[in-house]
Symmetry: C3
Subunit: 212 residues, 3 copies
């Protein structure tokens, strides 16, 4: 094969001309394989990202329940139970007057004078929470309850039980419990106790965030 080393430029060009289309074809075949492979990876990646993003964003709702008015609490639990039924993960965080929704009884022992006064003024349990308007010493509450029963809308305690059964995360705010002097014994079973960080941990990954 001395002829190769000793070949004239013309002969080199001839060899190249002969080899060129053939080598190009082989390269093209390999490169097309790679292209198909990488494109498939790109598609997989895309699908994975779509799945991740819908998982992270669509599956959580968090409700910060501040109000103790029965009409607002009803709205909060109707939204929460509806969201669970639609497949969202739901957490409710109860602070200040919102703790009323979780109350099963009232106790006066071990409380300061101010806390005892507050306990006396607040509804004894969720069933006694009054509406934000037209309460008139309980008349509005009873009227609303009658109107809801007539329209087969569940009562607040029923909605709370349903939420607990459906796996809604119910968190009572420890700071508010401390300030208002509400003990764990006054609240229903099956609760978690936490602070602002607990709430924010859920809220920061929630699609729906409400303050009620």
């Amino acid at each position: 094969m001395k002829s190769v080393e000793g070949s004239s430029e013309v002969n080199d060009a001839a060899l190249r001309a002969w080899l060129e289309p053939w080598i190009d074809a082989r390269v093209a075949a390999k490169v097309n394989e790679l292209k198909a492979e990488l494109r498939a990876e790109l598609r997989d990646e895309e699908r994975r990202q779509e799945a991740t993003s819908s998982a992270t964003l669509g599956e959580h709702a968090s409700i910060l329940v501040f109000s103790g008015d029965v009409d607002r609490l009803l709205s909060a639990f109707i939204v929460a139970n509806g969201a669970v039924a639609m497949g969202l993960e739901v957490s409710m965080y109860f602070t200040f007057w919102g703790l009323t929704a979780l109350k099963k009884e009232r106790r006066f022992t071990g409380k300061s004078a101010a806390q005892r006064l507050l306990t006396a003024m607040l509804p004894r349990d969720a069933a006694h929470a009054g509406p934000s308007r037209f309460n008139f010493l309980g008349l509005g509450r009873r009227m609303l309850q009658g109107m809801m029963r007539a329209n087969r809308v569940e009562s607040l305690p029923d909605l709370v039980s349903l939420a607990r059964e459906q796996g809604v995360r119910l968190v009572a705010c420890q700071m508010a419990m401390g300030v208002m002097g509400i003990s764990k014994e006054e609240l229903i079973e099956g609760l978690e106790f936490g602070g602002a960080v607990t709430y924010l941990g859920d809220a920061a990954r929630s699609k729906v965030t409400l303050f009620i």
Copy 2:
């Protein structure tokens, strides 16, 4: 070309040494073409994903309007109309006292005693909604209206009309209408009627979710 088959190892090596840079150059050229092509695809993909993600996430706001106070209703509609003006798709869902914003008149026929009482106590239409503070039998409302007019802030009925014209989705809660005994005839035209599922369907794909 017998010489090829019969060539010594030295000759093979010589041929390879001659072919190597040339073949490499051809492969490199093809591979670079592919690289540019795939990079362009990656960029396109990226742009498409950004567009999709901003479309899914940035384009919807949903407001759950619970309150019937004119100051809160003004806030709700100012936010809604502003959001539409900024290119967001907006839906408002009216429940309990929030239905006041959609009221055009009041009727008493076909209602229970409790519902007639409630009808009498609630504002006859959106223009008569009172503020959350300092209402004093309508004095606060008139004062607020005067102060708003003086500052060229639109009235509630004007803001509602604007929202409807701008294509804000206005949904009245059927459950609340049933409980409170509000008929479709008492509400303005151009509404949709729905339940918690209607609200949650919008909320679950909204970037901005407010309970007002």
Copy 3:
């Protein structure tokens, strides 16, 4: 190298058979390099997108503060300060009664009769904001303050200062200031002034959106 041009098909085939595995190996090597390179790019891209998406979605909370009740304002600032501590960027937009949280003193000059009346009826500064329930001419406020001190919960003015120091964006609603006749001199330092567009600009890129 005449022999190439003049070679029989058999000789061509022989040369090809000899070259084929060798060329394929070179192409494969180059293509694998490219593959590794593009895969690295894909990973980078993915990481960059994850970073971007968590930056865009997870890092912002916006609170529309409508209420002037001290209990609601406390909740708003506890959430805001907690969110900043957790690494979120937070903006608070104060409208209507919510402006009370930013008030440092009250002035009567240059206001209409209605605005002077409103000024007289509203708390003179953040420290005098009353709770949403059981206020009884300031008794509830003092009781709540005592209960909070006993539980080492910071006062509203302290929480406002903390928010400002921690870089929470505090925006006062110019429209509400105009309607209610509140001047910049009545509000604390370090505020921004804006409209619905300012709020919506933040809200539209926020993960957590609350109306308080």
